[in-house]
C-alpha cells in the first residue's frame, strides 16, 4: 500500500471528523497531498469506495485504542471510563465520531458504507454489553443500558461541538461513576 494512499486516507478521516463528510473532497485531499484532484482517482476508484474504506479503518483503529486504554484495567468501571476518555480525547481534538458524521449524512452513503457504520455501532454496543456483564446491581437490563450508554456518548460528543463548555461528556462520567460500583 503506497504512502500517498495512506496519507490520503488519513487526511480524509481528519477532515470528516473535524468538519463533515463533504469536507473530504478529492480536490482538498489532493491539494493537501500535493497532487491533483484527478490523481486521487488512481488511488481510489470512487469517492464511495474511499468512504467505505475509511469506516473500516476507523473501526479497527478505534478498538485498538480502546484495548490499549483498557490494558491492565479489569473492572467494569475502569473500562467504561476508558471508553469515555477515548470520546473525551476526540472532543479535545475538535473531532466528532466518524460514524456520527456518516450518520448525519446517511442519505448519501452507499450500502457498503452504511453497513460498515452499522457494524461499528453494533460492535461498540456489544463491547459495552460485555463490560456490563461483569457488573452488578444495575438499574436496567444490560442490553438496554448498553444502548442508552452508547447513545449518550455519541450524543454528548455531538452536542458539545457547538458548545465551548463541553459539559455533556463530563455528565456521563458522573453517571458512570454512580452506575457501576466497582
Amino acid at each position: 500500500m503506497s504512502d500517498t494512499r495512506n496519507q490520503l486516507k488519513q487526511l480524509a478521516t481528519d477532515q470528516i471528523r473535524r468538519e463533515n463528510l463533504a469536507a473530504a473532497s478529492f480536490r482538498e485531499l489532493g491539494k493537501a497531498a500535493g497532487i491533483k484532484a484527478s490523481s486521487v482517482f488512481y488511488h481510489f476508484q470512487s469517492r464511495e469506495q474511499l468512504l467505505a474504506e475509511l469506516v473500516r479503518d476507523y473501526e479497527a483503529d478505534f478498538f485498538a485504542q480502546l484495548a490499549e486504554r483498557c490494558h491492565g484495567s479489569d473492572s467494569p468501571k475502569q473500562r467504561l471510563l476508558a471508553l469515555l476518555d477515548l470520546f473525551k480525547q476526540s472532543q479535545q481534538q475538535g473531532k466528532q465520531c466518524l460514524c456520527a458524521a456518516y450518520g448525519a449524512s446517511s442519505h448519501e452513503l452507499s450500502d457498503d458504507s452504511r453497513a460498515a457504520v452499522q457494524q461499528f455501532f453494533s460492535r461498540l454496543e456489544n463491547w459495552i454489553l460485555e463490560v456490563l456483564n461483569k457488573a452488578s446491581l444495575l438499574p436496567l437490563p444490560r442490553e438496554t443500558l448498553a444502548k442508552v450508554l452508547l447513545s449518550s456518548l455519541e450524543g454528548a460528543l455531538l452536542i458539545d461541538r457547538t458548545n465551548i463548555e463541553n459539559q455533556h461528556l463530563d455528565a456521563i462520567r458522573q453517571w458512570i461513576n454512580k452506575l457501576v460500583s466497582v
Copy 2:
C-alpha cells in the same frame, strides 16, 4: 411574509433533516419551489442568513409541539415520555434533529447559527431540568441527569439513522420508565 419565502424555509428544513445541511442548496430549493436558484436570493440575503433563520423557527416549532403534547400531563414521567415521543416521531419520519445536523457540520456555521443551535440545546436541557425538579428519588444530581438525558436522545436519533431496527430510542423509553417513578 410571502408564501414563497415560507415554502422555501419549509423545504429547506425538510431537506436538512432528511438528508444534511448541504442538501438544502439554493438550486434544490428553487427547483422545488418552481423558481431559479438565483431567485432564492431575493427571499434570503445569503445562505447563512437562511440557515440561522431555520434554527430559530425550528426551536419555536419544537417547543410548541412539546407544549401541546404535554397539555394535561402534569407528572414528570408523562412529560419526559412526551419529549421522547417527539423524538420518536422524527425517527419515524426519517428526520434527524435539525440542530444535530447543524452540529455535525458545525465548522461551516456562522456565529449566528451556532448561537441559535446552542440556545436550542440549552433551552431543551432546561426544560428537562424543570421537569426533573418535580421528580423525586433520582440517582444523580438533576443538572447532570438533564445533560445525560439530552445527550442520549440526540445520540439515539442519530444512531438509528443508519439502523433499520431503531432500538435506541426505545431503550431510552425503558430507562425513563425506571428512572422516574411517577
